[in-house]
């Protein structure tokens, strides 16, 4: 059966790339957020996606 860690890992890796790129190049503009939250969440998602993929490789 499908190892769910693989598609979810890729999903969050992809999300992480998109948000990191948006954070790096288009900056951030939300009325109440003074930090580059796209960049920070993007990096966390890259890490999370990477972790899921690493876990799936480790066991198979």
């Amino acid at each position: 059966m499908l190892d769910l860690r693989i598609p979810s890992g890729w999903f969050f890796l992809l999300m992480g790339i998109i948000l990191t790129v948006v954070g790096l190049f288009s900056g951030y503009s939300a009325p109440l957020t003074p930090v580059n939250v796209n960049l920070y969440t993007g990096i966390s998602m890259l890490a999370f996606g990477g972790l899921l993929l690493w876990l799936s490789r480790r066991t198979t």
């Binding site: 499908l2 999300m15 998109i18 288009s26």
Partner: protein, 550 residues
């Protein structure tokens, strides 16, 4: 709220992934049991997250944030007093009977344990209820997207329903469960930044506590008397009504959640599903309730955020979550957050649809319409029911949109039907002497007691349609007491009628009742992976959370 291209891109990628998972899993569906029950094949980490996610629908997300803004951290009682103890109970004590019996659904367990009429009563009310709750949450989502994004109600309802239909039709329950896990991650990652940003902006928990009324930052201190707290409930009514009857009724007998645990790959995994799920569940209030509390503080401090107002006056709490997102999330993360909202809706709806099609196919169709057909026939029926369930939910969404009162009435009726159920299961599982006639008359008596209590009491102008005898300070208090009386009536009636009727012979009750069932002992596993140590550690952490926010 305006979306940029990147926000749409994120939404589209998400749709592609859920459909893709359904597409890959379609190959695993050969029999009706593959489609409807996953045939005991899903690993523990997936069932436990799905167990939590299927309850985390859009209505829950929006409603918990709204309650956070309205009542404060006291809303966490729904988690720390309500859900967690019930989840421990179902895992430790009830799962051996659900998983160990040959039942494929909760109503089917009732048939094996009691008789046909008890099963029929439960199956039919459950099927109708799931369709309406799926419709009501679809309505809530459509309304929200219309208000916030200006999307057409019909377009957002049809699009989201179509996607859920496709992936559940392709891969059945397995596909619904797998996607629920992806949805769970998405909801947590999509809303955790909002909680962090909102609390940080409001000056941390101390800053919030300094700005909002003290009742909003303590979950226990103001519970002594109903008039002291905004919920209008006292500690006794809350502990019995919510902590015992309502949440045990929901988490222990609702097939929607029990189905996730029954799909687990072993008895041990099935028992541990709610226990492991309780860990993330305990911390969800920080993501779903705390932003609502922070919103009230932000509103008081002239930060640029103000609580949304209703056109007729008063606050529109249901929009707290989305207005917070609009103020705190830039394009990119905003798309991700909205995708999280969409995901929560889908996990709730897929849960309803997959529970509905199983109960309809096995308990109604196979039970009463066509009993001995080849399995391929039931697979087809299961698939068709999936389509029918989705279409009927869409219909229910439009009914809810047309008649707002009808929604209130329906939710009331659900309450009446659900409240006594836990008494039936408690007696059925732990007292051999309980009979089918006892269970059935107990359920009827419980429902009648609920109706009667509601008709004789009023709260916030609701109820009291027979003759108002007593007034409750809030509808929440009324709900808790209605449930408590329903439970008590069902319990008493079941016991009395059982004692007067002939019990089933003991060999028929093997695997179904405490005392005639071998309760598995997980001796092959290290101690920290066994159910009891897990449950005790959940209980300790949960107690700590209650203490911290007392």
């Amino acid at each position: 709220m305006a979306l940029a291209y990147v926000d749409y891109l994120i939404l589209v990628i998400y749709f592609a992934f859920v459909l893709g998972i359904g597409w890959v899993l379609r190959r695993g569906v050969a029999t009706s049991e593959d489609f409807l029950t996953s045939r005991h094949s899903v690993p523990l980490w997936i069932t436990s997250l799905a167990f939590v996610a299927t309850n985390l629908g859009a209505q829950e997300l929006i409603g918990m944030c709204a309650s956070g803004a309205k009542y404060g951290i006291m809303t966490a009682h729904f988690y720390w007093v309500g859900a967690i103890p019930a989840m421990l109970f179902v895992g430790l004590f009830m799962m051996p009977f659900y998983y160990g019996s040959r039942a494929r659904s909760v109503p089917e367990y009732l048939k094996l344990r009691f008789d046909e009429k008890t099963r029929g009563f439960n199956a039919i009310t459950f099927a109708v209820m799931t369709l309406f709750s799926s419709g009501i949450s679809m309505y809530a989502l459509g309304l929200l997207f219309q208000l916030v994004l200006g999307w057409s109600f019909t377009a957002s309802v049809l699009l989201s329903a179509a996607i859920v239909l496709i992936y559940t039709y392709l891969g059945g329950l397995t596909s619904a469960i797998y996607n629920e896990v992806l949805q769970f991650f998405l909801i947590v990652l999509g809303f955790a930044p909002l909680a962090v940003l909102a609390v940080w902006r409001a000056g941390g928990w101390q800053g919030i506590a300094a700005r909002v009324p003290p009742q909003m930052v303590h979950s226990w201190r103001y519970m002594g008397s109903a008039s002291d707290n905004p919920m209008g409930v006292d500690v006794i009514g809350m502990l019995i009504g919510l902590g015992f009857v309502l949440s045990f009724g929901y988490w222990c007998t609702n097939f929607l959640v029990v189905q996730r645990a029954m799909a687990a790959d072993s008895m041990s995994s099935a028992r541990k599903t709610p226990l492991v799920g309780a860990f993330p569940k305990m911390f969800l209030p920080f993501i779903v309730i705390v932003p609502g509390v922070a919103a009230v503080a932000l509103n008081h401090m002239g930060s640029g955020y103000s609580l949304p107002l209703k056109s007729g006056g008063g606050y529109d709490y249901d929009q707290v979550l989305t207005t917070l997102m609009a103020k705190f999330y830039p394009s990119g993360l905003l798309g991700f957050g909205l995708t999280g909202l969409m995901a929560s809706f889908m996990s709730g709806m897929a849960g309803n649809v997959t529970a509905f099609n199983t109960v309809f196919t096995y308990d109604i169709y196979q039970g009463y319409i066509r009993r001995n057909a080849p399995d391929s026939h039931y697979l087809t029926v299961g698939r068709l029911t999936t389509i029918f369930g989705t279409v009927a939910s869409i219909g229910a969404a439009y009914v809810a949109r047309l008649y707002n009162n009808m929604m209130d009435i329906l939710q009331l009726v659900f309450g009446f039907v659900n409240a006594p159920l836990f008494a039936t299961f408690l007696l059925g599982m732990f007292w051999k002497r309980t009979t089918g006639h006892g269970a059935f008359t107990g359920l009827i008596a419980g429902t009648a007691a609920a109706t009667l209590t509601h008709g004789l009491t009023t709260a916030e102008g609701k109820g009291g349609w027979i003759t108002p005898v007593h007034q409750f300070p809030s509808t929440m208090a009324q709900n808790f007491w209605v449930a408590t009386f329903a439970f008590a009536a069902c319990f008493l009636m079941t016991v009395l009628v059982s004692l007067a009727t002939k019990p089933a012979p003991e060999e028929q009750l093997k695997g179904l009742v405490y005392g005639t069932t071998v309760i598995p002992r997980e001796t092959g596993e290290p101690w920290y992976r066994r159910p009891w140590p897990l449950a005790i550690s959940v209980a300790i952490v949960c107690f700590g959370l209650n203490f911290l926010f007392r």
